[in-house]
């Protein structure tokens, strides 16, 4: 998107007016860290904060994409517009990726009330890409009522969705493990809603029971008790309406309890620090590579004469010898 910087406000207006092509190109610029996106993001920020942003996470193969498709169907039948982000992993070896979340999407090709974007994780840990939050915010600014973010098939510590979504659904299937698995730290801690998918399979009732029990073992600090809902995306689908009712109940809880404002502050504080950390990191990397005295410092560390902590101290002090 070369030349977009001069068109920042115009591009922002086009996105708000519903120009999907400009939205698509701006998402690309954001993903690529193209500085031309900065002005567009800046111009759009005041328009954001209206959409319900819901995270759908859970291990690979539990049916996240199919659930997203079912939720899109339900929301469209209620006249709500939906932006979807499907994140899949990038290869740590080649950087390549196969993005297959779109494959489950069924919708009319002329339905402008749905916008689906696939994203590769591009080396980010945690289950989403570095740019996912800003892309969700773009969709929010573009006027979508709901933004669904489907994470990479997650592992036990992939909890980054919590920094993007106001409601996180953790999806599991029967026979993922015994009840002690549900007690472990990480993924299961971030669930605002537990979804046991594939209830057409045997063992679903046991999985639902284990999760319902987990919820009773202790109280969450915010006072929300995550509901457990069973779903099946095979026609006739089951539990999709109930799943969305639970999302709305949690969103209402966020408003009435004051947790939304607290969560927003926490998320935005982390975002500001994260962006600042990235920029400072890039600057320090640049200095270490270009400043001759700092390059000598690196030589000293390589030769085991100065330890990395002392060198880092000198680096952040701009190369001056500390004390």
């Amino acid at each position: 998107m070369t030349g977009a910087s001069s068109r920042g406000p115009a591009a922002a207006r086009a996105i708000v007016a519903g120009d999907r092509r400009v939205l698509a190109r701006t998402i690309t610029a954001v993903e690529n860290g193209d500085p031309s996106a900065d002005r567009i993001l800046r111009a759009l920020y005041p328009q954001s904060g209206r959409a319900v942003v819901v995270g759908i996470t859970g291990p690979l193969g539990v049916g996240k994409s199919s659930l997203v498709n079912a939720l899109v169907g339900l929301l469209r039948s209620r006249g709500e517009s939906v932006g979807v982000i499907g994140v899949d992993p990038s290869s740590p070896f080649t950087g390549g990726s196969v993005l297959g979340d779109r494959i489950r999407l069924e919708r009319r090709a002329d339905d402008t009330g749905v916008f689906f974007r696939s994203m590769a994780s591009r080396g980010a840990a945690g289950g989403v890409a570095a740019a996912t939050r800003e892309v969700a915010r773009l969709m929010d600014s573009a006027g979508f009522d709901v933004v669904l973010v489907e994470t990479v098939g997650s592992g036990q510590v992939d909890v980054a969705i919590r920094d993007i979504a106001s409601t996180s659904i953790v999806v599991v299937v029967p026979h993922l493990g015994d009840e002690v698995q549900t007690l472990k730290a990480g993924l299961f801690e971030i669930a605002d809603i537990f979804c046991v998918n594939k209830t057409d399979l045997p063992g679903a009732d046991l999985a639902e029971k284990d999760l319902a029990e987990l919820v009773t073992l202790g109280e969450r600090s915010d006072g929300w008790a995550p509901p457990v809902v069973g779903t099946s995306t095979i026609e006739p689908t089951r539990g999709i309406r109930e799943l969305w009712d639970d999302v709305l109940a949690h969103e209402q809880f966020l408003d009435t309890s004051g947790e939304r404002a607290r969560g927003e502050r926490r998320r935005l504080s982390a975002e500001i620090v994260g962006i600042a950390r990235d920029r400072i990191g890039q600057e320090l990397t640049r200095r270490l590579e270009r400043d001759p005295s700092l390059r000598r410092l690196l030589d000293e560390v390589v030769a085991h004469r100065i330890d990395p902590r002392a060198a880092a101290e000198r680096l952040v002090r701009g190369g001056r010898r500390s004390r």
């Binding site: 390549g96 990726s97 779109r102």
Partner: protein, 140 residues
């Protein structure tokens, strides 16, 4: 502090789709995997896509390249339709390549219509990857 963030190296985004009604997707999957291994981000749209769905996916995903796989024989109807829709919707600069069972005479006509490269059975993956890369470098 340096003002501009250094733009990250931009991976090529490519849509691989199967228009029409045949269910043989092994070829499309082999190509998708080869392009993945070449460092590209492959949006795999899967089987039985209409031209409208393919064009919509290409524009939403803002791809640099579109690859179509077809074995049903309906290429003379579906490919020109996809090219026409792309043109209508402002995506005419996205290069389109194709693979499958496409007779030489049809291939000539399709290339004239704007399909940039056509790969028949036996084409090496290396050739497909090399061509895909060069199409992205020279979009029109």
């Amino acid at each position: 502090m340096a003002k501009a963030r250094a733009p990250r190296k931009r991976p090529v985004r490519v849509l691989i789709a199967k228009p029409g009604l045949d269910g043989h997707d092994r070829g499309a999957k082999v190509v998708a995997r080869a392009l993945r291994d070449a460092g590209m981000e492959v949006i795999y749209a899967g089987l039985r896509q209409t031209p409208e769905e393919i064009v919509r996916a290409a524009l939403e995903e803002d791809v640099d390249l579109i690859g179509l796989s077809i074995l049903s024989g309906a290429h003379m109807a579906l490919f020109p339709r996809i090219l026409a829709l792309l043109k209508d919707q402002g995506g005419q600069t996205i290069p389109v390549f194709a693979g499958g069972i496409i007779p030489d005479e049809d291939a000539r006509r399709l290339k004239k219509a704007g399909i940039r490269a056509i790969f028949g059975p036996g084409t090496s993956l290396e050739e497909i990857v090399t061509t895909a890369r060069s199409l992205v470098r020279h979009p029109s």
